[in-house]
Symmetry: C2
Subunit: 321 residues, 2 copies
Amino acid sequence: MKHKRVFIQEVATRDGFQNEAQFVDTEEKIALVDQLSKCGYAKIEVTSFTSPKAIPALLDAEAVMHRIRRQPGVIYTVLVPNIRGAERALSCGVDEVNLVMSVSESHNRTNLRMSREQSFAQLRDVIGVVKQTNIAVNVSLSTAMGCPMEGDIAEEEVLSWIQRFSDLGAHGVTLCDTTGMAFPSQVGALCEAARERFPALELTLHFHNTRGMALANTLAALPSGIDRFDASLGGLGGCPYAPGATGNVCTEELVHMLELDGYDTGVDLAGLLSASALLPQLIGHDVPSQLLKAGRRMDLHAMPAMSDDGLLAQRTFAAGA
Amino acid sequence: MKHKRVFIQEVATRDGFQNEAQFVDTEEKIALVDQLSKCGYAKIEVTSFTSPKAIPALLDAEAVMHRIRRQPGVIYTVLVPNIRGAERALSCGVDEVNLVMSVSESHNRTNLRMSREQSFAQLRDVIGVVKQTNIAVNVSLSTAMGCPMEGDIAEEEVLSWIQRFSDLGAHGVTLCDTTGMAFPSQVGALCEAARERFPALELTLHFHNTRGMALANTLAALPSGIDRFDASLGGLGGCPYAPGATGNVCTEELVHMLELDGYDTGVDLAGLLSASALLPQLIGHDVPSQLLKAGRRMDLHAMPAMSDDGLLAQRTFAAGA
């Protein structure tokens, strides 16, 4: 009873790795992207063409982009902060560039060291350059469901930033719950409003599980017709305002839930779990993914051994509910 | 815009502590229950009157029940496996007894070392004894959304067990997702069916976050009119089939989401967070609660210090979306 196609966009090698202290070897990055390319994603955000000084974790952006084996049907996108980044990205033949700014002034100044208008002007120039090619432009709007310094961002404010980038010709906009402040009824309302006002725009939702609500928020986004979600393998990613908290919504948990609920993600869950299992060795620590620990719901267990009377020979489990 | 009352039932001192290797001192248990009693819960499952040999973590059930300071308006319930347990519980003046069996034959044999019919006969006798008093009886049906050995349990099978206990005079039934196998559309359908067939029964949903879906499942249960949820402070609890995975749905995360969505839980979230912060010391390890790490969504942060030009003096955060 697959009733609706949902598109899954992987961000672990960009949004995940950029938060890691341990540098992931270039060969390992390439091998992971190649493995993920076989899993049925709609899009993979491979890396970021930011300054190697700002984000040393991704200083090998060119090498990675040049050497991955691209799978037909998968869109390979990269984060680009400015003209220089766009030129580097275009020279690698990316399918899409992803631009980013915050809808909150405080967060934009904190994260990008400039005002929102400065960011907008810079991104407008980038779009101008990229539009000379056939490369698609997506814009990720950070703090769309709340800013850790300012609190709520008015829905109209978010919509007006979508409008400005839509007017510049962006083919897609991602609404990012950068620090995990989104909650279901807010998500439902914002998605309804955005979907209605921008019916032709490719809209993506980008949730973080910082406060445990990422899957509930996904569920709240679906009724409006939202059909694209960013997610991060293993739940990699993070938030400087919540040390130790979980990061982006975990791809394998998102796919697991959506497929059980009858959505067709196109993604091979077994393949995801195999790939996710490799992450702890790459980054040097455990990952937030619960599904990796628990297995899929129908990965069943054998009954413990019984004695002759049909009862358990061994000590019972704690008699929990 | 508080639009609906939802009742929160705490299970950490029973379902949580029984899974802990480290014995929580009796005085500390009492202090925790007393602290929770001030937080606005509808019900607190204080302890379990099982054999101290089976669950040594709760061998102090009488002492705890006798010495907590009960708050008017809070129902103090306890888990009771058999007549002996019921007698012990009644001698402590509990408000309710909570009985437990699995709707899956394999899980009942594994967890309780007897067949479902043997469990039913035993619980029928317990209900007979308790019904001679004014004490209420709730029955928790384990594996109602799936059995880790058998897989799916037919909805009709679950409903038939509710029927049998309803016929015996149980005032409430809890549908337990014992090993975190529930998914949203399944939960919605089961809740609809149960709510429709048993309109007078007090129905509770008991979710585990084993595969990350506890809050999404909560969201899926609400439209049917379900208004009672078990939850565990800090997310304590566990599942022997998923070592290292998270346990019960985390009370503070559940309350945080419901209140943001406009539900009135009656629960003091700040009080919960204070109590949850004490858990790591009591049990000797970190707890799954993400909210405890991240804080509430509107616990805002100050902007980092700026230099004279209005830009950040310090190193920027990673430019993430």
